[in-house]
């Protein structure tokens, strides 16, 4: 049994679980949609304000969705002692982490692909030149960073009583570089066409993703083992 098989088995199980229970889907879709709509009302009718705010609102909605999805992912595992059973198998903790990360990343990317056109229409933003590839790149890289940190901290807080409060408190300060890179890269191609600027932010995003990925994967066994 290779580690890759373990990663895929854990990811498949998590996605299948979500597909059937829809526990995270209902909460994140509703929350993200409400966030986009409420912020649109709150910001008023001035187009330049909406254009400026759209990328930030989109990524804040995705960040909160990432917190909910990752927490729900671990919560489902804790029922009936299934996560304890998973940890008893002779497989590397890193493979378990990567499986859960893959499931959360897939989920968040799908959610991002769904929310982005909604945000563009709702905020009446013109997609600039290069938006067709910069936005998907920002989504893939941004959700990867979000999923990495959310999965790690959801594992850390899974067994704590105050996990709902602690997860965002611990996670949000760490996630700032990812959020900044994703928002700025998206902003550079919405309402304008600053491709060089977008490229720079995407590179920074990829760099932080790599650092977080390596650190979280290496440290995950400290999170789930005593």
């Amino acid at each position: 049994m290779s580690d890759l098989h373990v990663v895929l088995a854990v990811a498949r199980k998590d996605l299948l679980h979500e597909l059937r229970s829809r526990a995270a889907t209902v909460a994140t879709l509703f929350f993200s949609a409400v966030t986009l709509v409420m912020m649109a009302f709150a910001l008023g009718r001035e187009q330049h304000v909406l254009t400026l705010a759209a990328p930030g609102v989109l990524w804040v909605a995705l960040t909160f969705a990432g917190v909910i999805a990752a927490a729900q992912n671990f919560q489902a595992d804790l029922e009936e002692g299934a996560f304890e059973q998973l940890l008893l198998y002779p497989v590397p903790r890193a493979a378990i982490f990567l499986g859960k990360l893959l499931a959360n990343w897939t989920y968040l990317t799908a959610l991002g692909l769904l929310l982005t056109p909604v945000a563009i229409v709702l905020y009446s933003v013109q997609a600039g030149a290069g938006a067709w590839y910069v936005i998907p790149a920002a989504l893939v890289l941004g959700t990867f960073g979000l999923a990495t940190i959310a999965t790690f901290y959801a594992g850390l807080t899974a067994n704590l009583q105050a996990r709902e409060a602690l997860l965002p408190v611990l996670m949000f300060p760490i996630i700032v570089p990812v959020l900044l890179g994703a928002v700025r890269a998206t902003e550079a191609v919405l309402g304008r066409s600053e491709l060089d600027l977008a490229g720079g932010w995407l590179q920074m995003l990829a760099g932080f993703d790599l650092v977080y990925f390596v650190v979280c994967t290496a440290l995950f066994h400290f999170v789930v083992d005593e």
Binding site: L16, A76, E80, Q85, L88
Partner: protein
Amino acid sequence: MSPRGASKATDMTDTPAIQLNGLTRRMGNQQVLRGVDLEVAPARLVVLRGGNGAGKTTLLKVLATRLRPTSGSARLFGFDVLKEQAEVRARMGMLSVMGGSYPVLSAHENLSMAADMTGKDRQQVGALLERVGLAEAAHKYVRTFSSGMKKRLGLARLMLVDPPLWLLDEPYAALDDAGKQLVDEVVSQARARGRTLLMASHESDRDALTPDAVLQLHDGRLRRAPEEAP
């Protein structure tokens, strides 16, 4: 007395399946295990008794690498539970009280997942579910199962993995008479195949089983139970 006599003289040259030396474990302010010494030779069945909160589950979890000893040492087949966790996990499996199954997956999917995690053949899954009486419920979600059915599924998982050391935490709990008989049969067959079994159980008179030792965990210490089997 020290419960080290759980091993037999003929196996003294073998590496013990379980070897505990002065094992202690503190949970918060409570000292749950106080210097537990134990040596179990391979292919033995040892029953562990004790009242609620005596530390039976804690001891099993230490052996399963899920809790760290506060002090002392624990080795399974010569591997240290702290320093050689991967080797330890490759040699043991545990039937926990909670069952350890995913509620929104079917029984078949749960066992297939276990097969994927341990490199076992998925082809065995159907036969194992039939063996534990879950053939008709194979494709139903586990959340629809009774406690007894979940226990049977946990037993099937352990049979699938079939590790050298079986750790059984209250295997008879929630089971009807047929289920208890099934556990007896499965345990006897595993023992006949040379597996070592450490069973924490309140069931005091399972006639079908003749354990090599019955130990009592009391006040964090192990001693032979008065009703020890010959």
